[in-house]
Symmetry: C2
Subunit: 335 residues, 2 copies
């Protein structure tokens, strides 16, 4: 329980450290099941070749349909994560919105700091402070109340730097990759350090990934009567941390099969990519490298959010594809 929010990391130290993204450079009127937003090059070709080889019955790398599992991290891989994880914006906004109904929160220092708009102070408490923020904003409510709260927040909120709704800061090239995979009978899963219930609210609309194909960090829940109705109630106790070595475990517990493709962007995804690509048989490990300080953000080894260090060291040796966002992607966000 104490370890929570490795998931969110302690990212405020670099708050506002990043550049403001510019507008997109090209537009897609309709997502097609090919990689229209990818520039021609090594990355696009490697992905297309891999999909072709694993779906061609005459290829030695052919993978039967039922084994075609592809897993992707979310924060920094399918949508942006700077200057801090978007789910933490949700937590903060929730606390500000609901504090007046919860006088008991006034005893919690980290929440007091949030209400005074002092993020740095709020997070001086480290992991424990972040845990407090998440627990009050993600539990002691029914699953449906939480989902409704996230849904409203997504409609009302805007990213502080781009001014976009958060769920429009998904990566168009990755949406196209997901579509291409599904068109080739791959099942696409999210395997995220972020909260499973948070993701499920919007992942289907954003990525075409249904709730039951989302794996993530979770709180415990109970089934109990509330106002004359039986409800799933989220309780303030950690159930599972889906990060680092937790990702292969989450894949095992939730999916029950070793993936063929795994994509991530940080060292938190290292073990998941390692698990997917070790051993014999065709597999594809993908790292999305944030190299685009103009259109998105450029960060890797030194970043407190989405640090990519060991992964960069080992990718070439292990045969993992490193996608260079600046060079490989024609566009970042959907129009």
């Amino acid at each position: 329980m104490k370890k929570y929010l490795l998931v969110f990391l302690i990212s405020f130290l670099t708050f506002a450290c990043s550049q403001t993204p510019q507008n997109n450079q090209s537009s897609l009127t309709k997502a097609e099941p090919f990689l229209e937003s990818w520039n021609e090059g090594v990355s696009k070709k490697a992905i297309e070749d891999f999909i072709k080889n694993t779906t061609d019955p005459n290829s030695p790398d052919f993978i039967p349909e039922k084994d075609r599992i592809a897993v992707f991290d979310n924060d920094g891989t399918l949508w942006a994560e700077q200057p801090m994880y978007f789910q933490l914006y949700y937590a903060i906004d929730f606390i500000k919105k609901n504090a007046s109904d919860h006088p008991e929160w006034s005893k919690i220092e980290s929440i007091q700091a949030i209400l005074q708009d002092d993020l740095k102070a709020a997070l001086d408490g480290g992991t424990q402070a972040i845990l407090e923020l998440v627990m009050v904003s993600h539990s002691d409510m029914t699953a449906e109340e939480f989902a409704q709260s996230v849904r409203s927040w997504l409609q009302e909120s805007r990213h502080p730097q781009t001014g976009k709704p958060y769920n429009q800061m998904i990566y168009q090239p990755m949406v196209e990759l997901l579509e291409l995979l599904r068109a080739n009978d791959y099942k696409t899963f999210i395997v995220s350090g972020g909260g499973i219930d948070f993701l499920r609210v919007w992942a289907e609309e954003a990525y075409g990934i249904p709730p039951y194909q989302v794996v993530g960090t979770s709180l415990k829940a109970k089934y109990e009567e509330q106002n004359g109705k039986m409800e799933i109630i989220k309780i303030p106790e950690l159930n599972f941390i889906d990060d680092k070595e937790g990702k292969p475990v989450g894949i095992h517990q939730h999916i029950g099969m070793k993936p063929i493709i795994a994509g991530g962007n940080s060292d938190g995804d290292y073990q998941m990519i390692e698990y997917t690509t070790q051993g014999s048989g065709p597999s594809l490990g993908i790292y999305i490298h944030h190299t685009d300080s103009i259109r998105e953000y450029a960060y890797d080894r030194e970043s407190h959010v989405g640090r990519l260090d060991k992964g960069l060291d080992d990718a070439a040796r292990l045969g993992w594809l490193v996608v260079d966002m600046a060079k490989d992607w024609k566009t970042i966000y959907p129009e």
Copy 2:
């Protein structure tokens, strides 16, 4: 952790209490997506009408494809569970087969009793004894070793009363129902008190349900190097008990959506059916009632395995369909 094997119940007290099933009465050369093994009657009609109404865009009960989730218990609902849960046969057979490699087991009373073929003594220790049997047979090995062990066992073992391989004691009418649902774009899930890793080994071949659509009771696991390879290792610690009020919670955590159809056969499935059918909107709750002492087993309120008591009391009032195996099913097992 102490409560484990509610899942398996403590069923030996009724060991050998049941009648020997006869042969099947009809045969299917090929499973078709209609309910060929169901007799005409109220049950078959209710199921067919429900599927028709929820998939007809012109019906007021229409359910969009993405929301078509159907969940089924396994033991006693999709395959037989008498005279005791088949997974417990696996545990016992595993212990007998591997005892010579594990001298340390000799200190465990319940295992000593198993090795002396004294089931009653083995289980006199109640839940704690059963827990010991399950832990030694389901953990301290890699996920792949466990799967391979279950696979071999299924090939080698026969049910003590029918002489059939256990995975041929699935219910043909239920296999047809699963196929009919999938042909109508329902996603079919297992939500079982049994072990998730045990089920995943054979559920796809038996039922057409892939590993990632199996929810069940689970042990914890870790990701660790073993013999130079990174492995998922099952550890002897309970992760989740997917029974009774655990079933709606398991559905929430794993599927993330409220089902439209839920089927079970015991009071352990009550909360899952309740969760599925409460509130407005079309839903179908199904109880399989074991009424066939000739072809299968007849048991309900007094059984130590698969007790159905409260469910029988409440089904009519709550509008749940009670399937009478003796009357509604032309055949029990596949030919």
